[in-house]
Amino acid sequence: MSAKIKSPWILHYNCGSCNGCDVEILACLGPKYDLERFGIINKGNPKQADIFVVTGPVTKRTRARLLRLYMQIPEPKVVVAVGTCACTGGPFRNMYNVENGVDRFIPVDVYIPGCTARPEAILKGIKKAIEIWKIKTKESIEVPVVIQKEFEETLSKMVLHGQTVDRRKIIHDLVNKYIKNNLEVTKCD
């Protein structure tokens, strides 16, 4: 268990951020703050990542991809929202093209406020994320917030009918259905 927390690999995704927070995350990985001394690598690959670092208010163009990336990260995983935009929508709150923060879509474990979030704050936030990640296991499955209601309904229905329940499959199907029905962006949007 103690070896596990020494090697968190992060996936960094920008959902419509102004690049301020992204530059600060890169500064964390650089020589001055050096996140690699905790074993952290910036893996560009969701299938090998543990910590999902998201910046930016979720714009219409990025929301489907955000959900897909979240689904592709294998458990145990932690989500960190970096910057005021990712936490609440920030200065873009309630604009026509913005979804007011990451936690409207996926469960967020750590919020790092600030515009932009300072590298020290990001460092502390990721340290906190590692503590949360330590408790989670392969079996701790979390449901994306957008399909929470449907998931519970489907689950209770299946339990009533006495069917065998594969939570991951249900979540996967529901997310695909949700993206198809609600998040398809046409050209004129």
């Binding site: 070896a3 020494k6 090697s7 050096d34 001394r37 074993g39 690959n45 299938k47 090998q48 145990p76």
Partner: protein, 281 residues
Amino acid sequence: MAWMLETIAILSPIIGGFIYGFERVVKARMQNRQGPPLLQPFYDFIKLVEKRAIQVHSFHSMMGLAFFFATWFTLAAFLCGPNILVGLFLHILALAFLIIGGFSVLSPYSVMGSLREIIHLMCVEPILILVAVGLFLVTGSWSVRDILSYSGLPILYLPLVFIAFVLIIPAILKKSPFDISEAHQEIIGGPEIEYSGFFYEAIYTAKWIEYVFVFAIVFLFTGVHWWLGLALSLLVFLFINALDNSTCRANFHQMIKFAWFVLLPLAALNIFVLALWRYVI
């Protein structure tokens, strides 16, 4: 000392892990950073066991495992076998597992990475074979055990072959400037992109074994003088890391041109002159 080569072959994942951990520390120090601890690769190893493995399909996962076992077997055949050429040909086979695995999924990055991996093979393998031929011309034997008991210094007869080999090492270990097949942030790992959890672990560990393979070849260039061999390996190690830190990624045209029109003629010239000197004059 009698079972030294066998021991190295069996323990190669652990030795390679230490080499990889040391490399990450050295690289960090070169960039004026503190860097991860020496045991970092093993921490990664333990973590990857605890991750859930998402399989694309079973054949793809099997190719990942096959790549690991084939690489391990290649090293064993290279070190303990009667002929180093067998080891080099098995090395092609081991990489073929990775390439077939990469082609078997629909991910465009994976397919692109596999295509580039084939280009790597095309550049690397002729030079590896010329290294074997050169060592045979000098020492008169194809086996590692005999080459390591040769009393002279093969590197003095094979300076150009050695230079060609050192400059192609980045292509074997996928380091900048020749890291085109796994090009992080460009095609995100290439053929290894779709592996996760336990199956990525196999690929990750196979890469450590490649380190042992490469530095074993460097070690052969000093014959029986094993102290010189260690010093030479360390020197090459530092040079490769400095090169990795200070260069940007070449594209595949540049890599092929460099390998085929610069390094290959250089190595061939050395062997040609040596053969003339040995057998004709």
